[in-house]
Subunit: 401 residues, 2 copies
Amino acid sequence: MCDSFFRNQTVPAQTKIAMLILDGLGGLPLETGGKTELETAHTPNLDALAARSTLGLTQPAGPGITVGSGPGHLALFGYDPIENEIGRGVLEALGVDFEIGADDVAARGNFCTIDDQGLLIDRRAGRLPTEESIKLVNLLRTIQIDGVDLFIEPVKEHRFAFILRARDFGADLTDSDPLSTGVAPLRVKAHNAGSEKTAAAINEFIDRARLLLAEHSPANMILLRGFAKFPTLPTFREIYHLNAAAIAVNGMYRGVARLAGMKVLPVDGTTLADEFDTLEKYWQSYDFFYLHYKKTDTCGESGDFSGKVKAIEEFDTFLPRLLSLRPDVVIVGGDHSSPAVLRSHSWHPVPLLLFAATCRPDGSTEFCERACARGSLGVIPATQVMPLALAHAGRLSKYGA
Amino acid sequence: MCDSFFRNQTVPAQTKIAMLILDGLGGLPLETGGKTELETAHTPNLDALAARSTLGLTQPAGPGITVGSGPGHLALFGYDPIENEIGRGVLEALGVDFEIGADDVAARGNFCTIDDQGLLIDRRAGRLPTEESIKLVNLLRTIQIDGVDLFIEPVKEHRFAFILRARDFGADLTDSDPLSTGVAPLRVKAHNAGSEKTAAAINEFIDRARLLLAEHSPANMILLRGFAKFPTLPTFREIYHLNAAAIAVNGMYRGVARLAGMKVLPVDGTTLADEFDTLEKYWQSYDFFYLHYKKTDTCGESGDFSGKVKAIEEFDTFLPRLLSLRPDVVIVGGDHSSPAVLRSHSWHPVPLLLFAATCRPDGSTEFCERACARGSLGVIPATQVMPLALAHAGRLSKYGA
């Protein structure tokens, strides 16, 4: 996306765009010649909408590239996911609604278990209950390091967000997490001179944490990884003139949406029904809605083919609630594929449906990988989804005479 | 397009390429599930050619981007339409065959009507007859401003081209046309220091024009907009080694062709028959022909679905005249879509047909949006049309050993 181009071309309009993202939507058949999760699912509402829509496949970051949810979502929001790398640490901090800023170095933190020799036994401290974790986070908060401010925020179970605030401290650092057991946690090292002070402060913090936690086994040590600074992205309002809102239950997705300048709406609960309640409640107040559905990815990553099928079917039943709000443009897609047969994210292009009164329907009667592969949008970079949505919403002016 | 790459790869050949552009070709059905203008039209000659051709869809400037005819044509000619922005003023000057050069600042001019308070009543002076307009242009030509040369050229009805010639005068200027009535025409302002002198000279011209025209109501004032300097593009001869000719009735299309270094051929009349007469007359003298057909866009923009269908059918009847000349490569396409249902240009990809002895036919039996969406060229940037045409014309050498 060329920011400056879209800044000049977007115009305000009284139209609404809904972007529904089924995390890890794309799939694979269990065996050659079989059906994918989406092809197996009974989805009468998506299929009916497909008949009035244009279909295609999206590539989050290019052919063959498997992405995490961070870059997958950035691409769907129109930001080049390679140029705009977001560190895991920043996503973790955003996910717990921490107001991260330009002076912050963030990391993903874990409580872990080490033995008498200091070697890792359990990288997740037995998935410490969240209540326990909160107490230990409060303990860590007593640590003070000269010249920096520290913020520790509990996440869930053994996880926490770590933020070091200090002007002009670099974040080009190695992880302390060795990603395996039987070895000691690593010292954090700086990749460049600008990050030396940061490495020193963080290693001091880790040493003090180890002393403080010594008697708290299984959570007797911490691991830090994914050090990163806050990237500054132009917001949806700046680039697209969109008053955008996000509906997501999981922190990371709320965090990416906040990065794009979206208002993250409160969801009273964690179910898809709760998310659609929020959508309906706030429908009049925004002109772009991003709604995130996690279960498809969770099932894909755990190899649960039929669970993913059921998740897609559950999603399908909610589609009429959106359509009755009469959105002008509907996008249904995914941030990446997560085929159950691979038990992981994958590089396969992701099904995309674009509905608007102005679209040229493909004549498909089903929303699935095969129909999308024949769709007239073709196989497109995910970064092209927003320009298409804006065009169909009457929000892009004519270029040139 | 990478100029330098094609400069090195193109080779001369004894082959001829014909590029037939139906302005605003792409369309939409009147209602969901219906047929587009092109799908509705009875086009036996295009359909027969389609069966021997490769089909696809072109995007002039990217997904979702609606372009004017200027950038739409630049893309078809192989120039990046975003990198090579052409101001409206330059197009207007080119359209009246004005030999615009590097020292010129051009604008689109209108006669208009203001009331006693100087407020705009009619931005087009009642669409002043061309004969009247020419007299008033001669009046404007008497105005002299120190340090600059002025050229005023009548266009049609209330319109004229305005050219200010002075070395190193910038053209980064606001319009005097407020684009609405009930307000006074605006003073022209410079966006940068290099354009201050230009703004001063132009405002002086506007003041003097108002005095001169005071008694000539409804044409008692002028409006200027789209100030621009002449972009320099490498020519078809330089990049492609093509001796290129253009056949177009409307000034703007002749202007863009001239910008690309094409010889603009005389057309004795304004009908498509007249254009094909020119094509036949000059067939032996050039190896690339761009032929422009305006009616499809005119009907699209005025919401005349059946008129656009008839225009396409009229075009179809002329195709045999081209084919009997035995061109080596035939391109049939459009500079953008203009669906009658939208009454405007649109972002929808544009049908493209590429015929050559060396093409792989898709097996389509119809030239229309749906067949093109299934075409084996895929959905491609319009800038890729010229490289494909050159290849099929045997005019691109092998890259590398």
